[in-house]
């Protein structure tokens, strides 16, 4: 089969984060500016080199336009599609396409939010939908709780198995000085935590933090000209089946079951090639479904798959090594942080939590209520 023209065509050459956890007094755009400067410093490019801006936020009707204005840019390509937390993986797809077509030379993908210190709670501009609003669901937790309840009913998944996902994330966060939630966490702690929407307790839910991220992408033909090892986009694929949970075709199968295989086919990788797996963990149930849908275990086996502790640091399955949305950072939309952690691991920058010379990583982003699924495969030069 012919190699897809986007395989390895573009690379992440710079990555930066800012305000991870709490950043009192700084606006979302301040944090985007901070992260963008960090990403530029990381690769040695100037702000004025950026001619493609890709962003989505939870507070702006024209997010990428507003980001470009704040940064003082006049980009040739501006892309602000909002698919929720998966947006930034989708942006990587569009950035690679724009770079390949010569529409831009240096792409910035960025996101930031101050929703912990600025608002004190999960912030969203999302509308309500007339078909669900009369029943007063609390978004997004109720949508994920309905799927968790169905998964438990169909497959015998237990609350303790879900809790293991949170406990495993904490073992990684405890090795990450940037992680917001650190310290001991047991399965009993998760089970005894305050119930929000059965079967999910507050400890089954991601953090509400501040934070911003930025990555800089160029075409592969110049990616070696920067100080750090380029991280190539080997594959990317997206699919969505619904917006609201009442229209979700199957509460226990997501469109990750389509995006994952297509991204891996584009990349030409199998599961055995993946050294790191970064799965959007908005709730403990989300990585369980994605482990199944992405083919790491059979459908229905996700709870039993994680129950042996393999996801914990040293457990043999490197998942969400930054501590994830559950224990590291979750400023409303988290997808960009999956990519940044993968870049850092592949470059060997992760200190106490560093994996042993990883070469290939899978990042999977989720948006809405299990709605948008985007899978990306990243790799070092030797994987090209």
């Amino acid at each position: 089969m012919a190699v897809h023209r986007l395989r390895g065509s573009a690379a992440i050459v710079g990555a930066g984060q800012a305000g991870i956890g709490e950043a009192p007094g700084r606006s979302p755009f301040d944090l985007i500016g901070d992260a963008t400067r960090a990403a530029l410093d990381d690769c040695g490019l100037k702000l004025s080199d950026i001619d493609g801006v890709f962003s989505a936020t939870m507070i702006n009707s024209m997010p990428a336009i507003s980001v470009a204005e704040y940064l003082g840019l006049r980009p040739r390509v501006t892309e602000g599609t909002n698919t929720g937390g998966s947006s930034f993986l989708a942006h990587m797809q569009w950035a690679a396409l724009a770079l390949d077509a010569g529409l831009c030379e240096v792409a910035l993908i960025t996101y930031g939010s101050n929703q912990r210190t600025g608002a004190g709670k999960f912030v969203t501009t999302s509308e309500t939908v007339a078909w669900e609003a009369p029943y007063k669901p609390r978004y997004p937790v109720s949508a994920y709780a309905l799927a968790a309840a169905r998964h438990m009913h169909e497959f015998g998944t237990t609350r303790a198995q879900l809790a293991e996902v949170a406990v495993a994330a904490r073992t990684w966060a405890n090795l990450n000085p940037e992680a917001f939630a650190r310290g001991p966490l047991s399965i009993e702690d998760v089970l005894a935590a305050r119930m929000l929407s059965d079967p999910l307790t507050v400890k089954d839910c991601c953090l509400v933090t501040d934070g911003a991220g930025a990555i800089i992408m160029t075409r592969a033909d110049r990616a070696r000209d920067f100080p750090k090892a380029p991280v190539y986009m080997l594959g990317v694929a997206a699919e969505n089946w619904h917006r609201w949970v009442s229209s979700m075709p199957d509460l226990t199968t997501t469109s990750a079951s389509r995006s994952g295989p297509r991204a891996m086919e584009m990349a030409g990788v199998s599961h055995a090639d993946l050294d790191l797996v970064m799965l959007y963990d908005a709730f403990t149930i989300t990585p369980v479904l994605f482990l199944e849908d992405l083919g790491f275990c059979p459908k229905g086996e996700g709870g039993r798959f994680v129950a042996d502790g393999k996801l914990r640091h040293g457990g043999g399955f490197a998942l969400n090594t930054n501590g994830g949305g559950l224990s590291c950072v979750h400023p409303g939309m988290y997808g960009l942080f999956l990519l940044i952690e993968a870049v850092r691991q592949l470059r060997g920058e992760c200190g106490a939590r560093q994996l042993d010379a990883p070469k290939t990583a899978l990042c999977h982003g989720n948006g809405g209520h299990w709605s948008s699924q985007v899978t990306a495969i990243l790799g070092l030069e030797e994987t090209l």
Binding site: A130, W131, E132, P134, Y135, K136, P137, R138, S142, A145, L146, A147, A149, R150, H153, R194, M195, L196, S197, D198, P199, W244, V245, S246, S247, L251
Partner: protein, 131 residues
């Protein structure tokens, strides 16, 4: 009772709500493939055909999933939220009344009731099959 969705008249959401306000629970059925869907649309999400007819339905359904939104008493207390599959096809978000919220189980047979809440008719369900 049948109401055909026309190309120029009120849209399917309006027709569904008007029937509900008149005390009739209807679902949109596709004239081409015969399948019901929910929420109402001008085309069939199963086959794409554009001829849709609302028919009154039994109100019988099955709880497909359920959760209890835990709220403080001052916020109204614990609230059931359920996804219910209609016997005729289609699924809606709703609520099961007549049981403590945590006692609603997946697989429970339920029957629709039309209530007025916040000034608008809505569909909720109660345990058991309609008499």
């Amino acid at each position: 009772m049948e109401i055909k969705v026309t190309a120029t008249g009120p849209g399917p959401e309006r027709l569904w709500r008007e029937a509900l306000a008149a005390g009739r629970l209807t679902l949109p059925f596709c004239d081409a493939c015969g399948r019901a869907h929910f929420f109402p649309r001008v085309l069939c999400p199963h086959c794409g055909a554009g001829d849709i007819t609302f028919r009154e339905v039994s109100g019988r359904g099955t709880v497909h999933s359920t959760t209890v939104l835990r709220r403080k008493p001052a916020e109204g207390g614990d609230l059931n939220i359920a996804l219910v599959d209609f016997a005729e096809g289609g699924r809606m978000m709703s609520r099961v009344d007549g049981l403590p919220p945590a006692e609603v189980r997946i697989g429970l047979a339920v029957t629709a009731r039309i209530l007025v809440e916040d000034g608008a008719p809505i569909v909720v369900f109660v345990p058991g099959e309609a008499a």
